[in-house]
């Protein structure tokens, strides 16, 4: 296609459409809605888009698109607030941001971290739009070059990041990732629908949702730990460097930001991977290319810049499969396509021929929305960062409320909360014994891709080989596959070198062996059950993956246990956060604090979520935070009221309890 004769006029047409008062007005409406929704973890773009869809119908197409794009574009920006300030991964796009963003907030540098994150987001978004403008016209053949072997290799590359993120024990990293893969394969098998590890439960049949895993593995363990220490998120109770420093940090790392944005666009463009791994790949890349790696995970600003640059660039890249192939990269993109149809546009190849101006309108609206959204967030970040200086117990009821509500968006039953508690306990112990939690998460996110691509690539390759060895090798060893293999090998090699470079904690310590060993044994038992369950599956193709992974993980676990047997009690393998970390000096114990969260679950089971929440707010604020009745009342009404308002606006329900099955109550008390 003649880029200049076709693309340029289309681009100009799009720009004249975009820069009208009407268009920008609707775009800002979308951005504001997106910000409001995105701040709530777990809700994300789907809820926001569903909210506006009823109004889309009958709107002028360009205005409608502007509103939808504005809304979608700011979700990966606004969810950064929760990731950095509270350690809650707002959506799959901001999970890696938690790793360094939250420690920065704890060091009193929340404003700096937020500013760096938003500047990176802004840059990534613009970068994505620029690249896309040229790329979208020629994208189709390139996207089609990514067949199953290529997708499989990309998945493996994502998994290889485990090596980089494993910390001081590669074995724990491998087991963690396998554990994630196993948990990710719970429920109906993707190929033939055999049930796996669901024990006849309705809830497990559909598997766990990412929200639950992200909240349970990252957010709750951190929140419980802070609650035990009874202080503000910021250690000093104050805000250190301001947002200007963050912007300068980004400028100092501009090349990192460019590289990570490139990664974001590329991964986003490829259909089938989704955005779920892009931030991890970017984070791994950031670590690998950094000279001084000692601060990663403890508050390195680069750990924020990398993933945040990539996740907004990915949104732009993700438009390619969405618009050109009608294959949405995420749930919100799926709803986006639905909205486009309501406006009279269907995704497909014609989007770069007949409808190219519309495509460019979407692309550049995305860029503009990024500017508006990130600018607004940047403006707000200084103020919102003050949350980290508030006494933590005052925040806890709000955090628990947000987390429980977010978890409940998963399947809208009480079991969401139960699952969250169970996963949280796993997360708390993984944190305590320094098992790499990112490894678990990467495994979980990639589970179904890893399984499906392996099986599909294998099956198609075997029929190609039947036609001839040359055809077969052409298929499985394309230039892209070979390139990806090289990248993966180098990445693993670098990762292995790094884990050797990361020194064990300098202070010598004699650990108590048994807690670590017991936890490892519990994991081994779980893996064993998974293996048995997998072996009992009838259909071969549904059995192979979980059985293999569980088998590998079991061997690794046995090796770890062997290691534990042989090594002296001073080995870092026995690391125990209850003795070594700041938790050791915490004034409150683990279980009493966790039982606060449990109480919310039990109360919800009895009275439904809204009543339970009110009781929880009052009890917690009076008994634990020890604030006056007046403040208790204000905070309770404010918190519960805000939640009801949001649920009402978004047409969401609350989990009902036993009470609701006896009596008819009006909404919001009714649940459903």
């Amino acid at each position: 296609m003649d880029i200049f004769n076709v693309a340029l006029p289309a681009l100009l047409e799009a720009l004249t459409l975009i820069f009208t008062l009407d268009h920008i007005g609707w775009l800002v409406v979308g951005v504001l809605l997106g910000l409001a929704v995105g701040v709530f973890p777990g809700l994300g773009g789907i809820a926001g888009l569903s909210l506006v869809l009823p109004f889309i119908y009958g709107m002028d197409p360009v205005s409608g698109l502007a509103m939808m794009v504005g809304l979608v574009a700011v979700i990966p920006t606004s969810d950064t607030f929760a990731s950095v300030l509270m350690g809650i991964p707002g959506s799959s796009a901001s999970q890696a941001t938690v790793l360094d963003g939250f420690p920065l907030a704890k060091n009193g540098e929340a404003a700096r971290a937020l500013a760096a994150a938003f500047t990176s987001s802004l840059f990534g978004g613009l970068f994505g739009a620029v690249v896309l403008t040229f790329f979208v016209v020629i994208a189709r053949p390139i996207v089609l070059a990514f067949g199953l072997p290529e997708l499989l290799m990309l998945t493996l590359l994502g998994l290889s990041m485990v090596g980089v993120l494993a910390g001081n024990s590669l074995l724990k990293g491998v087991i963690g990732a396998c554990l994630g893969l196993v948990v990710g394969s719970i429920g109906e098998a993707p190929a033939q629908g055999s049930s796996r590890m669901d024990f006849g439960s309705w809830y497990l049949m559909d598997g766990f949702q990412l929200v639950i895993i992200g909240l349970g593995i990252f957010a709750i363990p951190e929140i419980i730990s802070l609650l035990r220490q009874d202080r503000a998120i910021s250690k000093s109770g104050e805000l250190g460097s301001g947002w200007m420093v963050g912007v300068r940090d980004w400028w100092d790392n501009i090349w990192l930001s460019i590289r990570c944005s490139t990664i974001g666009v590329i991964v986003g463009v490829i259909p089938g991977l989704g955005g779920s791994v892009v931030d991890w790949i970017a984070y791994g890349h950031t670590m690998q290319t950094a000279k001084d790696k000692s601060q990663f995970g403890k508050g390195d600003i680069r750990g924020v810049i990398g993933p945040e640059s990539s996740n907004n660039a990915k949104e732009g890249g993700g438009l390619v499969p969405t618009l050109l192939f009608g294959i949405p990269g995420s749930g919100s993109m799926a709803v986006f396509i639905g909205g486009m149809i309501l406006l009279g546009y269907d995704a497909g190849p014609q989007m770069v021929t007949n409808d190219l101006p519309i495509t460019y309108t979407v692309v550049w609206s995305l860029a503009l929305a990024n500017v508006v959204g990130a600018g607004l967030c940047l403006f707000l970040s200084g103020g919102i960062a003050r949350l980290t200086t508030i006494r933590f117990p005052l925040l806890v009821p709000f955090l628990f409320m947000m987390i429980a509500f977010a978890a409940f968006q998963s399947k809208q039953t009480l079991w969401d909360l139960t699952a969250l508690v169970l996963i949280s306990i796993l997360g708390i112990f993984m944190r305590r014994f320094e098992w790499p939690r990112p490894a678990f998460l990467i495994g979980f996110v990639l589970a179904s891709q890893a399984e499906v691509y392996t099986y599909q690539a294998f099956q198609i390759a075997s029929t190609k080989f039947k036609r001839g060895a040359e055809v077969g090798f052409d298929y499985i060893l394309s230039p892209i596959v070979i390139t990806l293999i090289i990248i993966t090998v180098v990445s693993v090699w670098l990762g292995a070198k790094q884990s050797a470079a990361i020194r064990p904690p300098s202070e010598e310590r004699v650990w108590n062996k048994s807690p670590s060993v017991i936890f490892t044994l519990v994991i081994a038992v779980f893996l064993f059950i998974t293996l048995i369950d997998a072996l009992l599956i009838d259909v071969m193709i549904d059995k192979v993956f979980p059985a293999t992974v569980a088998g590998v993980a079991l061997v690794a676990t046995l090796l770890l246990l062997l290691q534990m047997r042989q090594q002296p009690a001073t080995s870092p393998v026995f690391y125990d956060g209850e003795v070594a970390s700041e938790d050791a000096k915490a004034p409150h114990g683990l279980w009493p604090m966790l039982s606060w969260f449990l109480s919310l679950l039990v109360l919800t089971g009895l009275f439904g979520f809204v009543i339970a929440l009110a009781i929880f707010f009052v009890t917690f604020l009076k008994l634990h935070a020890k604030v006056s009745w007046l403040r208790t009342l204000i905070l309770t009404v404010g918190g519960v009221g805000a939640l009801i308002f949001i649920a009402y606006m978004l047409n969401r329900d609350f989990p009902p309890g036993l009470l609701q099955s006896f009596t008819e109550l009006p909404w919001p008390l009714s649940g459903r």
Partner: protein
């Protein structure tokens, strides 16, 4: 505890139904009016799927035509391939006309195949709308050219087909191709038909099918470029429930015609009966709107009329063509007959399908 709750729920529901039916005798005469009411349209699938788009397309139109112009909101309740939401509707939805259900082929198939998780009965529910669709199978250019000359010449080809699972809507193409004697290896595990099309475009799969609207917007460009050749549609139902050419694709032969061409005889026997039954459930009666059990006839009629009014609007055809294809949107008696055809299948036919699934794909259905 769950059982206890279910029991309590049932008891409550029973009581509610009891009191309502007492009330109905007096209130039935009153005009149905939904002023200031909110109607929840339960879609047992997640946001962004085909059924979700379908419901969101209809929701504002339905709202305009119902008396009192209530707000119609789409409520997604995904789980267990839509069985969960449909079960919820059967057990919990009140028959006051404020909750309606949209089902699809994926809801009907587990019901037809006797999935033990299914706790609902289609016969309980009054139907107020059925939306038909069709499906088109296509081949890559080279194979397509040979097929055009003589389908029999490529029956021995090793076909690869990206499939969502043998017990899903893909049962229809898989069974059709098998009846023709084609050797098709399904590659399972794709997440939607879009993925299957992508596999085809990448040259990994060499046979595929799409439902009508997706075929029109995403495969037609390939056909125009000479990269794909449509070979058969599944057909459509005429007023007497015979399979005829698909009105959207009048130039493409139906599977039935291709069968006659290849085998030299009309299709018959249990395999054909099974194909036909599941085809009807999967395509002509693919999406249906249901009201809860024992809903007052007045309310049912109100909905029926409202949907009828929607589909008879002047600009409806133009609006719906893009999303739904040029198929009839069926209301009233015809919708009821579609529902009957799509949800009532002879036990022998079901048994045949189950045996076939087990033998051919190792799927054991309880």
């Amino acid at each position: 505890m769950n059982n206890l709750r279910r029991l309590i729920n049932k008891a409550l529901l029973g009581m509610a139904v009891g009191t309502l039916s007492l009330g109905i005798s007096t209130s039935a005469l009153a005009e149905t009016d939904f002023t200031d009411k909110t109607i929840e349209w339960v879609i047992p699938f997640s946001e962004g799927g085909g059924s979700d788009k379908w419901a969101r397309f209809y929701a504002p139109l339905l709202s305009e035509q119902l008396p009192g112009k209530p707000t119609v909101v789409v409520k997604n309740m995904p789980g267990a391939g839509s069985t969960k939401g449909a079960n919820w509707f059967a057990e919990r939805a009140k028959n006051d006309g404020l909750t309606i259900l949209g089902t699809s082929g994926s809801t009907q198939f587990p019901f037809l195949l006797g999935d033990p998780r299914v706790k609902f009965k289609y016969s309980d529910w009054p139907i107020v709308l059925a939306s038909s669709t069709g499906g088109v199978a296509y081949l890559p250019a080279e194979l397509g050219a040979k097929w055009k000359e003589d389908p029999k010449s490529i029956m021995g080809t090793n076909f690869i087909f990206g499939s969502q699972g043998a017990t899903r809507l893909d049962l229809i193409p898989l069974l059709a191709w098998e009846l023709l004697g084609m050797k098709v290896d399904p590659v399972f595990g794709i997440k939607g038909r879009g993925d299957g099309r992508l596999m085809f475009e990448r040259g990994e799969a060499n046979i595929d099918y799409q439902t009508s609207s997706a075929f029109l917007s995403k495969v037609m460009p390939l056909v125009d470029e000479g990269k794909a050749v449509p070979i058969m549609t599944w057909g459509a139902l005429d007023d007497d429930s015979n399979i005829v050419r698909d009105p959207t694709f009048p130039d493409i032969p139906t599977f039935k015609e291709v069968y006659e061409q290849v085998k030299g005889e009309e299709p018959s026997g249990p395999a054909w009966e099974a194909w036909k039954a599941f085809f009807i459930a999967g395509f002509p009666a693919q999406k249906m709107v249901m009201l809860p059990k024992d809903t007052d006839q007045e309310i049912v009629d109100t909905y029926s009329d409202a949907f009828k009014a929607v589909t008879q609007q002047d600009d409806f055809k133009a609006k719906s063509e893009k999303l739904l294809g040029v198929y009839e949107q069926v209301t009233g008696k015809k919708a009821a007959s579609f529902k009957k055809l799509g949800t009532e299948v002879e036990p022998e036919t079901v048994a045949w399908v189950k045996d076939w699934l087990g033998e051919r794909y190792g799927v054991k259905l309880k």
